[in-house]
Amino acid sequence: MEGEMLKGHLDMIVLAALVGGPAHGYGIIQEIKRRSGGALDLPEGTIYPALHRLEKAGNLASHWTKTESGRKRRVYKMTRRGERALSDHRALWQRFADAIGGLFGEKARAPARTHS
């Protein structure tokens, strides 16, 4: 998917990936890839700044855990505020998608009307 199309939606994508429960950075990227059917393969270089930004905004909370091998791992989870932000964004997205869908539908029908 075009990177330009994702601009402005990255935070929502990250929040949506955490709906299923807390996850670490790598897990979030894998979840986004899995749930988008491989269409969204976001680079790590964009995910981590988004995670930190969302945490500063209070939409995410994070804490350290230890992996089985003893490695430090930062795990992120959505806060109530994050849930509200995601819900608002989802409603906005739905309105936008409906509007664009309608527009494309009209466009598709328009030439047919012209030639009839």
Binding site: H24, G25, Y26, G27, Q30, P43, E44, G45, Y48, P49, H52, R53, K56, W64, T67, S69, R71, K72, R73, R74
Partner: protein, 234 residues
């Protein structure tokens, strides 16, 4: 652990770029290293150098990656500095007032020399302190009303640099107030009999000295970190 060295090198490179914020540097280093280890563990071959190179490539160049945290880190640094400076102003005000209240409480006698020292010292002290308080409030309001920009811009860096300098001006004003207080209280203590009553002025003055010196040291450290951070933006 397979390919530990290149992963550690990459983590160190990220941490080095973010050395102006040690806590952020430590955190991102651990996150990046864990991520790369996980990416390798997820591949069929844990010694797959190509997979590791791909994962590193997805992070981008450590400097470019680190730069994405710059704006938020700089604003956080400026906010911490402004908060510490404001606390220093409140702390010094508390110590100064405690001393004044104590003199009245114990009916501390004021000789002609003390009165003369007060006549010169107090206006200087009050002016320096009022200036410090006004500048500290301005700096605090300045950073609290600013938001992290989506992308770091030179003007944002300049504003943060200005804010840190504003805090340095607060610390200088506090040091001036402190120096005046030291002279005025010194004259008072020199003339009085050193008994238990002198404990409060002595302790409050020591506290003021610690607060003024501590805040100045903190601001100098923050100025240094800010200039290191701005070098990352260049």
């Amino acid at each position: 652990m397979p390919l530990r060295e290149p992963i550690a090198d990459f983590g160190s490179a990220v941490a080095r770029e973010l050395s102006f914020d040690p806590r952020l540097a430590r955190r991102l280093r651990a996150e990046v290293e864990d991520h790369l280890q996980e990416a390798l563990a997820d591949s069929a071959d844990p010694h797959d150098e190509t997979r590791l190179a791909e994962a590193m490539c997805a992070f981008g160049d450590p400097r470019t990656f680190a730069r994405q945290f710059l704006a938020a880190a700089l604003l956080s640094l400026a906010r911490r500095t402004a908060a510490v400076t404001a606390l220093a102003v409140v702390g010094m005000f508390g110590a100064m007032e405690a001393r004044a209240v104590w003199y009245g409480w114990v009916n501390w006698p004021a000789s002609d020399r003390v009165l003369a020292a007060n006549a010169i010292g107090h206006p200087v002290d009050r002016f320096a302190f009022a200036l410090a308080a006004a500048l500290a409030l301005s700096a605090l309001a300045y950073v609290m009303t600013h938001r992290v920009p989506a992308r770091f811009q030179a003007t944002f860096g300049w504003k943060i640099g200005f804010c840190i300098k504003l805090n340095a001006a607060v610390a200088l004003a506090l040091m001036s107030a402190m120096a005046t207080e030291l002279v005025v209280t010194g004259v008072r203590l020199f003339e009085a009999e050193l008994d238990a009553r002198a404990l409060v002025p002595f302790v409050s003055l020591t506290l003021e000295l610690a607060v003024a010196g501590g805040s100045m040291s903190y601001i100098l450290i923050m100025m240094n970190r800010c200039s290191r951070a701005l070098r990352l933006a260049a």
